[in-house]
Symmetry: C2
């Protein structure tokens, strides 16, 4: 029914679903540093915990706490550092 | 690393993790009606979608939208109706 995906040796795990308007995943990240690539525009919201994010084209990280959202355009990569175990909601634009 | 659980023939699926303070799960629910029981006090937040919830001792449902939280004490049951595919964050008090 709902598909699960694992990345980075299981340190990031997510479940795919659909919101009313967009494909989405919810997921969790162990403490650590990760680099992700996008194939669509992504809207990523921290639902618990904290992420330090280096957005595409940036050299310094910006902190996103619970309830905060960042957007990454398609076909770009971004770096994420999970300061604590963190959960997120990611919506993918068509 | 992160444990996945399925309920109601896979119509509800969750990933267990830990917030800084409490054990937690994130999960998704297909459209449908579910009854859950608690073993600890639970703080349940809708992270996307909408749930109509009949809390313990109540006879009418209350609607919870994205960003809204309800609390259920330990050892009680509550009924949830997912109006659309819905994601949630649940924190469990020790």
């Amino acid at each position: 029914m709902f598909k699960t995906n694992e990345y980075f040796d299981g340190n990031v795990k997510s479940i795919a679903f659909n919101t009313e308007t967009l494909a989405a995943t919810i997921g969790v990240m162990a403490v650590g540093d990760y680099e992700f690539g996008t194939s669509q525009r992504e809207y990523m919201t921290v639902t618990s915990g904290q992420l330090n994010v280096i957005l595409p084209g940036q050299i310094t990280a910006k902190t996103f706490n619970e309830g905060e959202t960042f957007i990454v355009e398609a076909n770009l990569s971004f770096k994420v550092s999970a300061v604590v175990e963190t959960s997120y909601l990611c919506k993918y634009e068509d």
